[in-house]
């Protein structure tokens, strides 16, 4: 009871909950769900980008892409350890992921079909992630908030690099410009859908806002993102694929057509273009690596943990 009172007081004072603090089961469960999903998204999100590492048409861009994928693996590791502070193991979370019981962001289930997709993915989905995560940096769970500060910084960097890649295409050949427009056409709505269902349909939002796990509603964040993108699209000379998109002086915001949430539901349910492929790839990497992890464990057991790298 004392714990509960302290928890409520801390939340009310906009303080941070730490791993050893008492917290309601629902709070813990929500956080585990959210952080695991975030971690899985970092890990699974490496795949559409890695698809282009071997074919990157300049060494500088290849290096940037490898570094981005590396950052994401690092974020995944960091986030799994944050989730572990809530009493679950990485192994369990991976089992949940591999079994399809825990999710990752739906945009990852779309294919990267050209080099321009690498840029569009970074510009739009990392851009959306930043908008989302900047707001989450004030989340009530301390370890997650601190992780997000670091992650946000790197994601902003990725977002800018994506824009820079696209900017080069926008100054390029007709084929490059066509590639750029087609990629933006493909990634606009998957990025908008990243903010989740509209507020009136969102099942977790109210409680998460009350617990200050979330700090803004899906629709607020989506609007913020659209307002940021429009001038950037102008610089790139691309048309965002929404004929209804226009400035609304009265609202001080852009009007726009929201994503097709039926499509979002289908993709989350497992029926996006690449869900099966992504999960099969992840499972195969895990299975192919089993003998290596077993060897490392056997070696550590023989020689003591101190010998482990």
């Amino acid at each position: 009871e004392e714990g509960a009172a302290r928890f409520e007081a801390l939340i009310a004072a906009d303080g941070k909950i730490e791993p050893r603090d008492w917290m309601p089961d629902g709070y813990r469960r929500s956080l585990i769900r959210q952080i695991a999903q975030h971690a899985h998204s970092e890990i699974m999100g490496m795949q559409p980008e890695t698809n282009w590492i071997s074919r990157a048409p300049s060494l500088a861009r290849k290096a940037i892409l490898i570094a981005k994928v590396q950052d994401e693996a690092g974020h995944g590791l960091y986030l799994y350890s944050v989730a572990e502070s809530l009493g679950v193991s990485r192994e369990w979370m991976l089992d949940e992921l591999h079994a399809g019981r825990q999710k990752y962001l739906s945009f990852i289930n779309y294919p990267t079909l050209t080099w321009a997709d690498v840029g569009a993915l970074a510009w739009l989905t990392d851009g959306a992630a930043v908008v989302n995560q900047v707001s989450l940096c004030r989340t009530s769970y301390g370890p997650y908030a601190r992780a997000l500060v670091r992650i946000c910084k790197e994601e902003s960097f990725h977002h800018r690099q994506g824009f820079d890649l696209l900017y080069a295409l926008s100054r390029g050949t007709p084929e490059q410009r066509a590639m750029l427009q087609a990629a933006v056409d493909r990634w606009w709505y998957p990025a908008l859908a990243m903010f989740g269902p509209p507020d009136h349909m969102s099942t977790h939002s109210a409680q998460s806002l009350a617990w200050r796990i979330k700090r803004a509603t899906n629709d607020e964040l989506r609007q913020r993102f659209v307002d940021i993108c429009v001038p950037q699209a102008r610089v790139l000379g691309v048309t965002l694929p929404d004929p209804a998109l226009r400035w609304n002086a009265e609202r001080g915001h852009h009007d726009f057509t929201p994503p097709d949430f039926e499509e979002l539901k289908r993709v989350v349910a497992g029926n996006g273009p690449c869900n099966r492929q992504r999960l099969a790839h992840r499972r195969r990497a895990h299975e192919d690596g089993a003998w290596v992890r077993e060897a490392a464990a056997a070696y550590a057991a023989k020689h003591g943990e101190s010998r482990e790298a």
């Binding site: 890990i43 490496m46 795949q47 890695t50 590492i53 071997s54 074919r55 990157a56 048409p57 300049s58 060494l59 500088a60 861009r61 290849k62 290096a63 490898i66 570094a67 994928v69 590396q70 693996a73 690092g74 995944g76 590791l77 799994y80 080099w115 890649l165 080069a168 295409l169 100054r171 390029g172 050949t173 084929e175 490059q176 790839h281 992840r282 990497a285 192919d288 690596g289 089993a290 003998w291 290596v292 992890r293 077993e294 060897a295 490392a296 464990a297 056997a298 070696y299 550590a300 023989k302 020689h303 010998r307 482990e308 790298a309």
Partner: protein, 254 residues
């Protein structure tokens, strides 16, 4: 399609190109592990190593292009040359059939690179010396990493021992090419004579293998050709993938 390779060009340019090609092809292979590593820590580590190698390749190819003086930048050299114009050893182009093969390649190539770069860091040519000094530090980390996995796989389970020994046996013959005679150009300095590196390389590698309970293979078959542009069949497939987009858009900038 590409400027012809001058065989009468400056010695140093050919030499730098070799080093650059070694690093570039090694980077391409190591980067192939992204999202496929046995654990996420390893995804991070291998991406790191790929980035180091790619950074070395970029510095070296840029410098080779400058020495050549034909206006080719790192990308023209990486993406615009045909297979027979690449000067890397065959070892780095071997497919990473499994994690053990990747580690065996990294161990053998890493120890070689560290010894070579350490020597080159005293080169008369200041640009080369600068690149080498930075790279020597990086490769020390690659070697540490490869050693720690060689030990764990060699002295881990029966299965991992079997696989690691098979990988060592498979890759070993390709290590001879690293030390093929031919003194480096004067500007590279005496510390970089490949023939002189073989002794220290053997001692270091043999010690690691012994500690990992692995058998050091017999010397015998010693495939070669990479330094004169003769590669393995796997290399053409690597290049097709690596160069496709660049070649599909002649003249484009990225």
């Amino acid at each position: 399609m590409t400027a012809p390779m001058t065989t009468t060009g400056p010695d140093l340019r050919d030499y730098v190109l070799r080093l650059g090609d070694d690093a570039l092809v090694a980077a391409q292979r190591v980067a192939g592990w992204c999202t496929r590593a046995p654990q996420f820590e390893e995804d991070v580590a291998l991406a790191n190593i790929a980035l180091d190698l790619l950074g070395q390749a970029r510095a070296l190819l840029t410098y080779a292009g400058e020495l050549e003086g034909l206006g080719r930048d790192e990308d023209a050299l990486a993406f615009g040359r045909d297979e027979h114009e690449f000067r890397n050893v065959q070892l780095v182009e071997l497919p990473d059939d499994d994690f053990a093969t990747a580690i065996a390649k990294m161990l053998f190539f890493g120890v070689y690179q560290r010894l070579l770069y350490t020597g080159l860091s005293r080169a008369a040519d200041p640009t080369l010396a600068g690149i080498a000094a930075k790279a020597a530090k990086e490769t020390a980390y690659h070697v540490d990493h490869a050693v720690s996995w060689t030990l764990r796989l060699g002295d881990g389970t029966a299965e991992s021992h079997r696989r690691m020994q098979a990988a060592v046996d498979h890759v070993w013959p390709y290590t001879h090419e690293l030390f093929e005679p031919g003194p480096p150009p004067a500007a590279a300095g005496p510390g970089a004579d490949p023939a002189a590196l073989r002794g220290p390389w053997c001692r270091e590698v043999e010690q690691v293998l012994a500690e990992a309970t692995l058998r050091r293979p017999e010397d015998g078959w010693a495939p070669t050709g990479g330094r004169s542009g003769v590669h393995t069949e796997a290399f053409g497939h690597l290049l097709a993938e690596m160069q496709y987009v660049y070649r599909a858009h002649p003249g484009a900038r990225w």
